[in-house]
Symmetry: C2
Subunit: 548 residues, 2 copies
């Protein structure tokens, strides 16, 4: 190119790299905090949060978060200090997701369903300097605090608190509603700490970055269709993966968040009808509750409610009932390690040609990456190489991208094991379909091997759930001298349903699956669940072993 | 915190910074290219691009882009090499927006309405090594190439090309449809080069980064509600700010893009009806064309078409007509320097209480930042400090964030001038309203100062456009011995409308504005426009000076 017109360059510097450096005008660290500042400056009068009769506009939410940040700063809390919170889905939980990171500190939301010892473990391990406690959880908090040699500053939200606690509103009064926030120095800076409720061993603390939370917020908004007209209902606990990053996603879209303290069908239907709720998320149990709500607890509504479900695949019965009630179900898949949803079961062109039953089967897949996740793959269990997309071979589901956690706090070996070889190893086993969707076949430890054949417990459960009397199903391996293992089904019946005989259930299963997959043992009764509503299969495996 | 449970740390390293470094599993440079890879892997059978009878699925689009990238690589094109393209809104234009950055090269889309000398300037200044030319623009390309001492590799798209050119499809045949792409080493790497069509002086080449384009794609998708079910019609030239970053935004959302070679109302209505178009963008002239389309060229459609308009505020007449026809208009504001849209006039809560006329006035504002822009402000013209949000004081509109260009290629002084003090100085003058929306009052040079009073030419134009006979209006300053300047209106009448007398128009204006703002001179006739459809006010200022 002619020298006369081409940009002059410093020796060795390419024209596309000279004089085009990052500067304040064109480079800002990615952080979800900026989304709130933008929302407050752009549509400050819009309702950000609804909680009963209470309303917070975006301007008010922003001011309260700035108060929280500056009040904590005045009490000596700063960059990378940990602020734990034990609360239901209340406005203060949303505020903590912005106010704490505003001062560069790290928010540690705690599961209100855990026992005091585990709460105490998290407070110690995370090094909490402040502990925000909703009054209704004060006993749990007090018992956890009793185990700590050096208790943190305790702040009580709403009502009577633990001894010596500072009331949250008094703390806010110490702050400045217009305080400037430093934000992160670097977008990789730590933002949140989420302890996973593992079935064995100590909990592991997944660490989120400002960059990851910002991108997950946008990814959720794009994938789930959040907009300024959306109304999001908090049926998902906000302490669970920081509410799948929805506190930030809703603010990115300028949506309204509706708080919900207790997940009860009547209240869910009332809020949907009264506030025009358009979106909600939850575990399968939430959908199950909505789908099985007694008629007198239901309310009619005109809008379609988009309903994202994660944790386990929704059964075809649930999907059908939900659609009939005016919901549109999307199955998501993710983990604490992936800021919540990593994949979504998005519609494929060939769904149009499927029967309803076939479509429901497809909808139960874990699906494809959100726009902000780089990739998903199913890895060969021996080599780690991607399997072919044949829909049959089983491997480990792996995820990669900016919305994967930084690692586990103070646990380099677990971090290394989990994030090795360029991928996050989920530990879930699945197949990769030709259309790109992944489908979980089982957790590694949940595979039942009977007579040399692999049996997916999920597959058997899906069939059992189709039986009209069955509400919940869990299938585990029962040791067997002849076959090695056989499938053993633990079932919870629908309220008021007549219990079928084992013979009847066996016949039901034989019509719908290969004979070797049919449960040899069936037990009815309430199923043991974790604090987050997951069925505790390890308890059931124990029970199965002890069955005579 | 107790040492016993707190993570062990290297001396001086904070627990939240130890062992939590970026790694391949959780850090990927942001680039719009990843969005195509994800789309192809996730819903490869979905239609990505429609062009007449032609359809490209996402898998096909991805394969063609990989072919393009690898074929160019085999011909020696690599990181930061420039690939220019002169084409209408055809599939190959979409392909270039992915295929060229795939190999780390820089795409330089050129305006097909420019003259050969300006095209030649861009090719020289940008250092183009490859020049992709759509056959219908071969004469323009040939004349530009004739001015270059060392012509680049010329590739012709569709039909007869310039002498010695390689056919595009033959080039693609040289490539590998499954080639891995290196992508950017760093997300700040340059991605696109867009020359601004300044009214004076040489064009300036705004440089985009992979990071900026990725974020702008997500910001567009969230703000404008793009989803996997969206169908986007290309009424906006793709060479204009890389189509406002919509080639990337549509792929981020998994939407379908419908090509359009010529912007004609009959064709627009046909495509909307036949393909279920849900979104389109364009300059006011596009809306004007749709709104004024003769009845026989219109087609009925059931969906609502979201229509983003930028470049100048849409008049209330246009908005009303568009709404009646089934469109929903959103006014956007941005520049080449901001990857297209930077702000959008989003609905505010108080709009519900406004009359229709008041609402249309509000909708004509430039609005508030997209979610992915950090901030907008109106700066005091003397101090540069933010003005109060009083809706009256006029200052310069400034923008800041990751979706602001890296700078101008080889023009450090212009870069410095434009991106100084932490903000991108747009050169547009406006006010900041209490609700956070900015509103342009004038380009700095378009302010008319008459008798010491500032007159916004836009304000006068808005009134003139309400007159039933007026289709386009441009008001400029005319030198005047008494008043310094007076407003002079150049008007283009609606086809078939009876021209009003100057007296009648003056009376019309006097009823609707302060007397000093009423144009003293009125001239009817076709208005001069730039290649992108902007009215050339500098030509009109010349004419106004020469009026006797």
């Amino acid at each position: 190119m002619p020298e006369s017109t081409h940009p002059t360059t410093v020796a060795g510097t390419h024209p596309f790299e000279a004089g085009l450096e990052r500067r304040a005008a064109n480079y800002v660290p990615l952080t979800p905090i900026s989304l709130l500042a933008r929302a407050a400056a752009s549509f400050g009068a819009r309702i950000a949060v609804i909680d009963g009769d209470r309303r917070l506009t975006y301007a008010q939410l922003d001011a309260r978060c700035r108060r929280l940040a500056s009040a904590l700063a005045r009490r000596g809390i700063g960059r990378l200090d940990t602020v734990a919170i034990l609360a239901s889905n209340i406005p203060e939980m949303v505020e903590a997701h912005f106010g704490v990171p505003m001062l560069g500190a790290v928010l540690n939301p705690l599961n209100t369903r855990l026992d005091p010892a585990t709460i105490a473990f998290s407070l110690r391990h995370g090094g909490a300097k402040v502990f925000l406690v909703e009054a209704i959880h004060r006993e749990l908090a007090a018992r956890a605090l009793a185990e700590l040699p050096e208790p943190p500053l305790v702040v009580t939200i709403g009502g009577e608190g633990v001894a010596d606690a500072v009331p949250y509103e008094a703390l806010l009064d110490e702050g400045d509603p217009a305080a400037a926030w430093p934000g992160p120095e670097d977008e990789w800076q730590s933002l949140c700490l989420l302890y996973t409720s593992g079935t064995t061993g100590d909990p592991k603390g997944a660490v989120y970055s400002h960059r990851g939370a910002y991108l997950q917020a946008l990814g959720n908004a794009v994938t789930f269709g959040l907009s300024g007209e959306s109304v999001y209902l908090w049926t998902l606990p906000m302490f669970h993966c920081s509410g799948w990053s929805y506190p930030w996603a809703c603010v990115a879209a300028g949506a309204t968040q509706v708080c919900l303290r207790r997940v009860e069908p009547a209240e869910i239907f009332r809020l949907i009808a009264e506030h025009g709720v358009t979106h909600l998320c939850g575990a399968p149990i939430v959908l199950s509750m909505i789908a099985h709500a007694p008629i007198h607890e239901r309310r009619a509504f005109e809008q379609t409610v988009r309903c994202a479900v994660g944790g386990a695949a929704p059964s075809s019965t649930i999907i059908r009932t939900m659609e009939e009630l005016g919901f549109r179900v999307t199955h998501l898949y993710g983990a604490t390690e992936s800021y919540g949803p990593a994949t979504a079961c998005l519609a494929q062109p060939d769904w149009a040609e499927l029967t309803q039953t076939q479509r429901y089967e497809r909808m139960a897949r874990q699906g494809v990456p959100l726009a902000t996740l780089d990739a998903v793959m199913v890895a060969d269990l021996e080599t780690g190489a991607p399997l072919e997309k044949d829909g049959t071979r089983i491997g480990e589901i792996r995820l990669r991208g900016n919305t994967i956690m930084k690692g586990y706090l103070g646990n380099p070996s677990a971090t290394e094991r989990t994030l090795a070889d360029g991928w996050y190893a989920t530990g879930d086993l699945g197949v990769w379909h030709p259309d790109g969707a992944v489908e979980i076949k089982d957790r590694a430890k949940d595979i039942i091997i009977s007579g040399g054949e692999n049996i997916s417990s999920l597959e058997v459960e899906e069939v059992l759930l189709r039986h009209p009397a069955v509400m919940l199903a869990a299938v585990v391996a029962r040791p067997d001298e002849t076959w090695g293992e056989t499938p053993c089904a633990f079932l919870e019946a629908k309220p008021g349903a007549a219990l079928p005989s084992t013979q009847e259930l066996t016949a039901f299963c034989r019509e719908r699956m290969a004979r070797f997959k049919v449960p040899k043992t069936v037990v009815f009764g309430p199923l043991p669940k974790t604090s987050t509503g997951k069925i505790q299969k390890f308890v059931l495996r124990e029970r199965a072993r002890e069955l005579r």
